[in-house]
Structure formats: C-alpha cells, structure tokens
C-alpha cells in the first residue's frame, strides 16, 4: 500500500462517514470496519469480493450488513453500481460532477472521464423528438499500464 493509497483511503473514509452522519445514521463497529474495507479497495469490486474481505477483518459481520451498507453508500452517491460484463460491480467514486467510467478489460482497473461536449447526447435524442433526462455511458478498453504489455511499440 503506497502512501497515496493511504491518503486516498482516509479521505474516502472521511467522506463516507460524513455522508452517513448527514443522514443521521449511527456509528457502529461493524460499519466502521466495512467502511475501512471499502475505502481500501482500489478498484471496482463485486459484493462477494467485499463480503470476503470484510469477513477477513471480522468474520462475525453478516452478508446482509454488507449489502445494507452498499445501499446506503449508493444512496449518498459515494458508491456506484456498474454493469460489468460478468455481473454487477460496485465502485467507490468521489467525483461529484457528471462523469463516466472506463473499465480496463485486462486488469479491471476503472477510471473516470468526461466528454468534451456532453450535450451532444441530448442533441442526438432531440433529433428524434425525445427530451433527455439522463444517460449512462460505459466504456470498456485497455488501460495505459496494460497497453504496455499488449501493444508492441510502433517502430
């Protein structure tokens, strides 16, 4: 774990606790443990992965509580559920502005990005008479690190 990870983790932990506070929820030990684990996941994860890691810290914590926490965090917008090719993935996401996700099909790493002109999407559906309310854009590709291994240098 690098110091950046630690710093990111504690910022994330802080934001999540604040978000739960803001909803008048209580501070409990299981919740604290689960939040620390969520903050420590460096990439999108399945509910099962999270459950396993949580069990590694405290085997008493039940599966239901993990799902309950995921729901709370999704409600506050700090965790999003993405549709991966092999099922649903949850991801910690601190960006508050509108954005999208790219997932590396090799290593699973996810990054966020924005379109230069997001309104192009609204315009596209307006051409067929729809008024856009919201949209979900999900991109799959190969991340910079994985490109090094798969793409021969072009020379």
């Amino acid at each position: 774990m690098t110091s950046e990870d630690t710093a990111f983790g504690s910022v994330a932990l802080d934001l999540m606790e604040r978000a739960l506070d803001a909803q008048g929820l209580r501070h409990t030990l299981p919740r604290r443990t689960m939040l620390e684990v969520v903050a420590g996941m460096g990439r999108p994860f399945t509910a099962t992965e999270l459950t396993e890691r949580v069990a590694g810290r405290d085997p008493h914590i039940g599966r239901a509580s993990v799902f309950r926490l995921l729901q709370l965090l999704r409600g506050s917008g700090l965790v999003e559920r993405l549709h991966g090719p092999d099922g649903e993935l949850y991801t910690l996401c601190l960006a508050r502005e509108h954005h999208h996700h790219v997932t590396c099909t090799v290593c699973g790493q996810t990054a966020t990005f924005s379109l230069e002109d997001d309104r192009a999407v609204a315009r596209a559906v307006e051409r067929i008479g729809f008024r856009m309310e919201h949209h979900v854009l999900q991109v799959f590709g190969v991340c910079p690190a994985c490109r090094e291994h798969t793409e021969e240098p072009s020379r």
Copy 2:
C-alpha cells in the same frame, strides 16, 4: 394493433426465422409461438414478461425454452439485453449498425439513435491513456408522445 405494427412484426418474425435457419436450427411449434410473441412486443421486456405472454398463448411452453430462445436471438444480434434501472431488459432490435437506445421513462417505449460523432467517446478516453474497445450508451428521457401530455405548450 395497427397495420404498421403487423407489418413490422412480420418483418421481424421473418428476420428471426431466417437467423435461426442460418444457424441450422430446427423449426418447432414452441419456437414459432415464442418468435411470434417476441415479434409482437412493441418495447423492451423482461424475461418474465415474455414468459407470461408466451404462457398466454401456450401454457405448455416452459420457462427454460424462453431463456434458450432469448440466448439464440441474442447470439444472432436480433435481441439485445439492456440494463434498465430495475433489472435487465430484452429488446428486439433490427438495426445492424452501431447505435444506442433511448427509453421513455413514462411509457417504456424505446427508440434507437446514433451520435453525430461517435469517435468523440474514443477520444475522451484516449485523453487519459485508454484505448477504447467498445462502449454502451443508454439514454433515459421522455418520448414525443409522452411529451405532449406532460409538457404544456410554450405559449
């Protein structure tokens, strides 16, 4: 059912039968029945909805066969699975070029559209070093018909 619906349905039915033929699959009564039902759905549907309508035509047809047919049709590209906010949706889709879907949040009707410049998406992720493989864009909004009822004329 308007005559357009009927015409569309028979075109769709035809395409689906051809697609199954092309894979060397057999013509059976259950399959024919199910295909007719799929061709008759005017909008995205859940597997459960389809199963129910099929049962209305022939209660003997099993749930497994419905899922099997959906798989075959997805394999030939004539049916796509979309991630709706409340679970997976299947939709009959005859467009062969790259395109996207808009779903009306009021009536559920879906239409297809294309972006003027689809490569804008690839460019956006290239800016952060990713090479795009594919992307999924799903829009939610209000269709022309439903806009009439919800939007006051601006005068």
